[in-house]
Symmetry: C2
Subunit: 197 residues, 2 copies
C-alpha cells in the first residue's frame, strides 16, 4: 500500500522475506531507514561486502573470509572434530570456550519429509576428513530436535567401523534454570545422565 | 563475537541499528541472508534504489519519487490541508479513503525536552502554504501523545488569526496508539468526526 513509491514498496518486500519480519515491521524498518540516509548506505554496503567476502571454508564449511578458516588453520586439537548443523552453531560453541578441537558444518539435518538426504549435507566430506586424518573422536552436536537426533543416529552408524570414538553433547538441565520449570523429557535425560561428584 | 568474519560483524552491527532488532535477531537475520545470496543482492539493490529515488515532496514534504508528489499534483481538494507528523501517517490516512484534501508533513513534533523547536519542523512552510493559497481548513492530525497534543495546540494558536478553520481528528482513535497502526474504519470515523478547536 505504499502507492506513491515503487522503490519503497520493493524495499518493504525484500525486508518481509527476512525471518520474523511481517508487513508492518518491514514498513517500520523502511521508514526508519528513510530517515537516516547514512544508515541506508551503510547497510547496503555491509550487505554487498558480506556477499563478496564471506564464503564457506573448504575444509569445515563454516563461514570465513579467508579459506581455510582461522579455526582450521589455527593451532587446535586435530584429533577431535565437532559436527554441527549450521555455521552459527560453531559460534555458540566457541563462545563457551570449552572446545579446543576442530569443526565440521553439515549445512542442515536429514529430513526425509523435506527431501533432505545425506547427499544434500556435507557428510561425504566429513567421512573423507575422518578417513584421511588422525581424528580420534567425533562430537555430534546437532540440535536435540527430531531431525537433529535422526542425523546424530545416522552419523553414529556411519562411524561405527571407522575406529573413532563418537560422542554427543550432554543432555541436562541448563545452568541457572529452576528445576520446577524443567520439561519432563529434559529431566529424564538429566536423571539418566547423572554423574559421580 | 563473529570473530572469523569482519564483514559479517559489520552487517550485524548495521542490522542492530534498526528499531526492535537486537544482537541475537541481527545475527539471525545475517545468517539467514548468508544462506540466500540472491536475497542479499536484492536487499542491497532495494536499499540503494530507495536511497537514490525516494525524496521528500517540496510542497507537502511527504515521501515521493517524483516532485511534487502524486497527491500534490493530483485532483484533490485544495481548500483543506491535513497536517501530520511523519510520511507514514499520510499513508495511514490515505488507506481510510475518507480524506480528499492535501497533506503537510511536519517531520516530527515539538519536544522541548529533546530540543525540537518550531524551527526544526516544517511549520514555516505550512504557514507559507496557508497564507499563499485558498486553504479554508487545516486538519491537525498529529498523534494524541503529549508532544503531538502540544504541537496541535501550538499550530491552533498560529492559525487563529489566519481566517482558516482549524480542526482536529476526532477522538475515536484509542489514546496512546500510533496513527501508523490504526485500522481504516477507525481512521474513517476520525476523519468524519473532526471537530472545531
Amino acid at each position: 500500500m505504499l502507492h506513491n513509491s515503487h522503490s519503497l514498496t520493493r524495499l518493504v518486500g525484500e525486508l518481509k522475506k527476512l525471518p520474523g519480519i511481517g508487513e508492518k515491521s518491514a514498513c517500520r524498518l523502511a521508514f526508519h531507514l528513510l530517515r537516516s540516509p547514512a544508515n541506508i548506505i551503510a547497510l547496503a554496503e555491509a550487505l554487498n561486502e558480506v556477499k563478496s567476502r564471506v564464503r564457506f571454508c573448504s575444509v569445515c564449511f563454516s563461514i570465513t573470509e579467508d579459506d581455510p578458516c582461522a579455526i582450521c588453520r589455527g593451532n587446535r586439537d586435530d584429533s577431535i572434530i565437532c559436527v554441527v548443523e549450521e555455521p552459527q552453531d560453531v559460534l555458540a560453541i566457541e563462545r563457551s570456550g570449552a572446545f579446543r578441537g576442530k569443526y565440521h558444518v553439515l549445512h542442515g539435518v536429514l529430513s526425509p519429509l523435506s527431501g533432505i538426504t545425506p547427499a544434500d549435507l556435507k557428510i561425504a566430506q566429513l567421512l573423507e576428513r575422518v578417513s584421511n586424518s588422525s581424528i580420534k573422536e567425533v562430537v555430534i552436536a546437532t540440535n536435540f530436535s527430531v531431525e537433529g537426533e535422526a542425523t546424530a543416529i545416522y552419523l553414529t552408524g556411519l562411524f561405527r567401523n571407522h575406529g573413532v570414538r563418537v560422542t554427543r553433547l550432554a543432555h541436562g538441565i541448563p545452568i541457572g534454570s529452576d528445576l520446577e520449570y524443567i520439561d519432563s523429557a529434559t529431566m529424564q535425560r538429566a536423571v539418566q545422565g547423572r554423574s559421580e561428584v
